[in-house]
Symmetry: C2
Subunit: 178 residues, 2 copies
């Protein structure tokens, strides 16, 4: 199975902390392997995500990269495809189809604030999850849901805690790795 | 076609403004008809959404409700079904199937912070978009995407501005209602 890395571009401490955390939480819960933080350094977001992974399980890793251009060029040289999610892009359903057929590892770029022009050019695909304004968190979730065809919800995370689905209320039990 | 109303429960001014705005932006872009803000009063969020609707088109309406329990009971008495999105709930795919078959209008409840027990009891369904922690914005987007089977991306909004999908860059033109 192809690997998926989610790159958060242009993160700003303070303003973006909650949204960036949501981006990485979605990346992890929706089957991505890796989250990469670019923009302002923010160990709070990275450490917070590591705590989530330690508690809830799975093999999602998070790191910070100083230079997103160097990072993307390196990944492209290694054969990864770069898909940038933007409301200005082309139909993501077509893009997802091509990516699935190509079976290559994918870097999904999710911007915070204004995305530099170079990101549009470095990306192999600029994909729009609809051409209306909404949310990068939503765009990433729907993109990954289509990419993994909903199978991400059947993934076993084997964490310290685990939710037992309940029709009314909350049931949290110890997981296998506790 | 059944109507969809998205109720944001327990909104807190300051802390939740960006996320609540994303919840309503997703509601609008993903085909819902109505957004209802419950919790602390926040005309900034409501007015911001109204500006988005005026610019980008569509018939999405936003309002504030002081008492979410009264609101939900009223809607239920009018025949609406209440679906609450929570990581503790049961498989949303089954829930969406039932809702689509039922053809009734739906209130989707999306909580901010800790959701009161009564909300779980008032809801006809407590649905989990995966049982891992992620984001209410993501949960709503994937729920609506499945509910509308992706057709929401073909919806015509007829706003003052319109994006022309582009493989690289940004093309925004005047819409029909400019």
């Amino acid at each position: 199975m192809a690997k998926v890395c989610v790159l958060r571009l242009g993160h700003r401490v303070g303003r973006d902390q909650r949204t960036t955390t949501h981006v990485f939480l979605v990346a992890r819960a929706f089957g991505a392997d890796e989250g990469v933080l670019c923009g302002e350094e923010d160990s709070q977001v990275v450490e917070g995500m590591r705590r989530v992974c330690a508690k809830w399980g799975g093999k999602f890793s998070v790191s910070q990269e100083k230079n997103w251009k160097v990072f993307l060029k390196k990944r492209k040289a290694e054969g990864w495809v770069v898909a940038h999610l933007t409301m200005y892009g082309v139909d993501f359903e077509e893009g997802v189809k091509k990516l699935r057929e190509g079976r290559k590892n994918v870097v999904v770029v999710v911007g915070a604030g204004k995305v530099p022009k170079e990101a549009y050019h470095l990306a192999d695909m600029n994909l729009a999850v609809g051409n209306q304004p909404h949310s990068e968190v939503a765009a990433l979730a729907v993109f990954l849901d289509r990419f993994f065809c909903g199978r991400q919800f059947r993934k076993k995370f084997e964490g310290k805690v685990k939710i037992i689905p309940s029709p009314c209320g909350k049931i949290v039990v110890c997981g296998k790795n506790n």
